[in-house]
């Protein structure tokens, strides 16, 4: 392999900036965060743990979702299916008292929900997004019913905290993240599947004429997303052994924001990045926490949200500098 020198002309700088922007932003956010926490005299080590816990489920579910985004479609029901699988998991644990069965059921249910969306969409040729909108309403409605019917006065259902306590430590969670990331990176970067999915995202017509079945790879993508949801639902229970109708409530939209934040093009295709979800997810959580520390008080919530939205738009703008089209993007 010949080594090429990188020439730092305007073009290259733009390209590099585009590519590295999300990561630079992540680095900057970490630095700012450390400074802010340090300046306030808070415990940084604890704070980092909190951030990790807050971002973990988001990062995992969003990483799984990246496979769907790579195909150029998106799934808005992932938050609802996280809730649903967690709820079913709790019900199963409470009747079987087996952690293993619970984990298996959670994963199966999550993958099942995902498969249902994708087969509905592919068998009946429905637009994926709208199918997932319908899935979202159905799953949240069913979950809410299960939870409130069984939760009674507590308003939620739960498993005994002692069951998951042994797993509620950083080592286990980091291991889960690393294993899942490794699996995703492997599938995405080192197998035929990943290559074909990126190609499908780039040009589905050409992919079809190259013998790549959209349905097959859409189903694989949804299965990967389902695995992420399942693992996410399980880790949600590890973090808090209870499920209420609001569990994972804002996850669905956070995934969308996190993936874009991490530098993933919304149209998918060859520029898709498997690390976008992790980078974006943690960046988003970091930004949120920085703003929470800096701006306090009731009125601050609105201001914080405005600031983080502006930051988000600015970041995406810079990251898109290299892909400007003459016409307005759609």
């Amino acid at each position: 392999m010949e080594v090429k020198k990188i020439k730092f002309d305007k073009h290259t700088v733009k390209k590099l900036l585009t590519l590295l922007m999300p990561i630079i932003a992540f680095g900057v956010l970490i630095a700012v965060f450390c400074i802010v926490v340090g300046a306030k005299g808070y415990k940084l080590d604890r704070y980092i743990e909190i951030i990790f816990n807050q971002g973990l489920v988001l990062a995992i579910v969003a990483t799984g979702a990246t496979f769907i985004y790579t195909l150029g479609s998106f799934d808005i029901s992932l938050g609802a299916s996280t809730l649903f699988s967690a709820a079913v998991g709790v019900m199963v644990y409470n009747s079987t008292h087996s952690l293993v069965v619970m984990i298996l059921v959670i994963i199966i249910v999550a993958v099942g929900c995902s498969l249902l969306s994708s087969t509905l969409a592919s068998v009946f040729k429905l637009p994926v997004f709208v199918t997932t909108v319908a899935m979202m309403s159905v799953l949240s409605a069913i979950s809410a019913t299960i939870i409130t019917k069984n939760g009674g006065a507590l308003g939620g259902i739960s498993i005994p905290s002692s069951v998951v306590k042994p797993l509620d430590n950083m080592g286990f969670k980091i291991a889960m993240l690393v294993i899942f990331m490794a699996l995703c990176v492997f599938v995405f970067e080192f197998t035929k599947v990943g290559r074909r999915q990126k190609f499908l995202g780039a040009n589905p017509f050409c992919a079809k004429l190259t013998g790549i079945s959209l349905n097959k790879y859409a189903i694989i993508a949804f299965v990967m997303a389902g695995l992420g949801v399942g693992l996410g639902a399980f880790l949600t229970l590890v973090y808090t052994p209870s499920v209420t109708p609001t569990t994972a409530g804002s996850l669905g939209m956070q995934i969308l924001v996190a993936i874009v934040f991490g530098g993933m093009p919304i149209s998918g295709g060859p520029r898709s990045k498997i690390y976008a979800a992790v980078v974006g997810g943690f960046s988003y959580i970091l930004l949120d926490n920085i703003l929470k520390i800096l701006i306090q008080g009731n009125a601050g919530y609105g201001i914080s949200q405005i600031i983080s939205a502006v930051f988000f738009l600015a970041l995406v703008y810079v990251a898109s500098l290299n892909y400007r089209s003459k016409n307005l993007p759609r």
């Binding site: 970067e189 290559r195 004429l209 013998g211």
Partner: protein, 516 residues
């Protein structure tokens, strides 16, 4: 430039461009070019893909802006149109500007013919000043515009999507002609037109010839351009190489100046002996699909180049897709080495390759890199256990194809969309040849490809034939069918009308009789 300046010096040229430069990022499309168009002239522009012929005219017609230009003057006045509409409309005294019939479709499928024609100038159809726009008035005016150039079967209220390719092109022509432009640019338009359509276009060109107006005619087709044009200018790599007057027209000389060197070796096949092996590798039996295919049976042999020719809508393009398993026929079956073809993936497993006519949407992912496009076809070749991808072996595989086909690119990571037409097609070939396809279905493989690459393609096809591979070449260009095929099937209205066997005596005229 001296050749074109024979006209009296006191007449101001219609269009005069001096030292125009246009760059797209690092790519130089036009390099300090001068161009003059005289009144009454039918000027041909010819050159390989990316030579700049479309670029310079599209700047004059307002589609894009020059990066740098010393002067551009139209009828002696400074000329800097902001849009195509502007180029047509704003030339001081009424609408006698520059109109361009563009290469890719310049019409919008989702709206009506009338809306397409009058897009951007709807004010005239208002019921009253600032009032609503009257659809009735609009349609009436559109009908008149169509009739003015001799089109009677297309009406203003028809949805554009309901028209075939040729009619859409004609609507475009009507739209331009409505403005009564003094200069029309015809960019690769005739390839889209059948006989009757071409006649309409030639009538218009002939009306312009020798008047106060002028035509700029851009084409790949040397024969056509030599027939239609009075003068001819050759561009290469963004520069004007030479201009020819009618009496200087000479195919070899023009070709040489287009590619900048004598064509080394053969262009088409040098032999005229048909040859193929006994073994039938791909065949279809009694295919039926709507109006496109009516009981089609074809056999393709090992080591054969089978040409399929006809007009654009004769069904041959559909045939190619059906043979590859991409389109399901209503009746009949496709067999590869005796087993029925189920879908594209199966066809690929059986080593069939398919190059689509529609390169940019069906053969390539333009936003992906060269590597992505080539590698996607050959994973069986380099993936470990047909599943794991190891970067270095993937790169090696891709680099081999790039080298074998001499694809001109900065590196394998270059975005495919930034390549020229010929190099794009090489990438497509790399994808299919690299994976070791035994049977190649090539739909218009040299469409929009310049002569240099064309020659390379033909030689590659020949090499593949010699290796015993089977090629089914679907083409709208007679010379290449005659020049390359062992057998030629001519299709019309979904049926095979005639089969020709390779021979030195075969002529265009003989074949065309069966097409129209």
């Amino acid at each position: 430039m001296s050749e074109t300046e024979v006209v009296q010096e006191n007449t101001i040229p219609l269009l005069e461009i001096k030292n125009m430069t246009k760059t797209f990022g690092p790519v130089v499309a036009l390099n300090d070019v001068d161009l003059t168009v005289q009144k009454g002239d039918v000027l041909g522009l010819i050159g390989e893909n990316g030579s700049g012929k479309s670029t310079i005219t599209s700047i004059a017609a307002g589609m894009q802006k020059a990066t740098k230009v010393e002067s551009m003057r139209y009828k002696g006045k400074d000329w800097a149109p902001s849009s195509m509409l502007d180029a047509l409309d704003n030339c001081g005294e009424g609408a006698h500007g520059i109109g361009m019939i563009v290469q890719e479709s310049g019409t919008i499928a989702g709206i009506t013919v009338a809306e397409n024609i009058f897009l951007g100038e709807l004010d005239q159809f208002r019921v009253f000043k600032f009032g609503p726009i009257s659809r009735r008035k609009l349609n009436k005016a559109a009908n008149e515009a169509l009739e003015a150039i001799g089109i009677t079967n297309v009406r203003g209220n028809m949805p554009m999507a309901a028209l075939d390719f040729q009619s859409r092109k004609l609507v475009e022509i009507a739209k331009i002609m409505l403005k009564d432009p003094d200069v029309i640019v015809v960019d690769e338009t005739s390839t889209a037109l059948a006989h009757d359509g071409r006649q309409i276009l030639y009538n218009i060109i002939n009306k312009y010839r020798g008047t106060e107006k002028a035509v700029i005619f851009i084409s790949h087709d040397l024969d056509e351009i030599m027939e239609v044009c009075d003068t001819l200018t050759v561009l290469r790599d963004g520069k004007i190489i030479r201009s020819f007057k009618k009496d200087e027209f000479d195919a070899d000389a023009i070709r040489t100046s287009m590619i900048g060197r004598e064509l080394q070796g053969d262009y088409y096949r040098s032999d005229f002996t048909p040859s193929w092996q006994e073994e039938v590798v791909l065949e279809c039996k009694n295919l039926v699909l709507g109006d496109s295919l009516k009981d089609i049976s074809v056999q393709l042999h090992k080591g054969e180049i089978l040409g399929v020719g006809g007009l654009s809508h004769c069904g041959m393009h559909t045939l190619g897709k059906v043979l590859f398993g991409a389109v399901k026929p209503q009746k009949g079956e496709v067999l590869v080495n005796g087993t029925p073809v189920k879908n594209e993936a199966f066809a690929m497993k059986k080593n069939i390759g398919y190059v689509s006519k529609d390169r940019d949407t069906e053969s390539l992912a333009l936003t992906a890199s060269i590597k992505d496009n080539i590698a996607i076809g050959g994973m069986e070749k380099y993936a470990i256990k047909n599943f794991l991808i190891w970067d270095p072996s993937e790169k090696k595989y891709v680099d081999e194809q790039i080298n074998n086909l001499s694809i001109k690119c900065s590196d394998r990571n270059q975005t495919t969309g930034t390549l020229s037409g010929g190099n794009k097609q090489k990438v497509v070939f790399g994808k299919w040849v690299g994976r070791g396809s035994e049977i190649l279905i090539l739909d218009c493989p040299t469409r929009g490809v310049d002569i240099g690459v064309k020659q390379a393609m033909y030689q590659l096809m020949l090499k593949l034939k010699e290796e015993g591979k089977a090629i089914l070449m679907i083409s709208e260009e007679m010379p290449e069918l005659i020049g390359m095929s062992d057998r030629i099937l001519i299709m019309k209205d979904g049926e095979i009308k005639k089969e020709f066997i390779r021979s030195a005596e075969l002529t265009d005229a003989e074949i065309i009789n069966y097409m129209i």
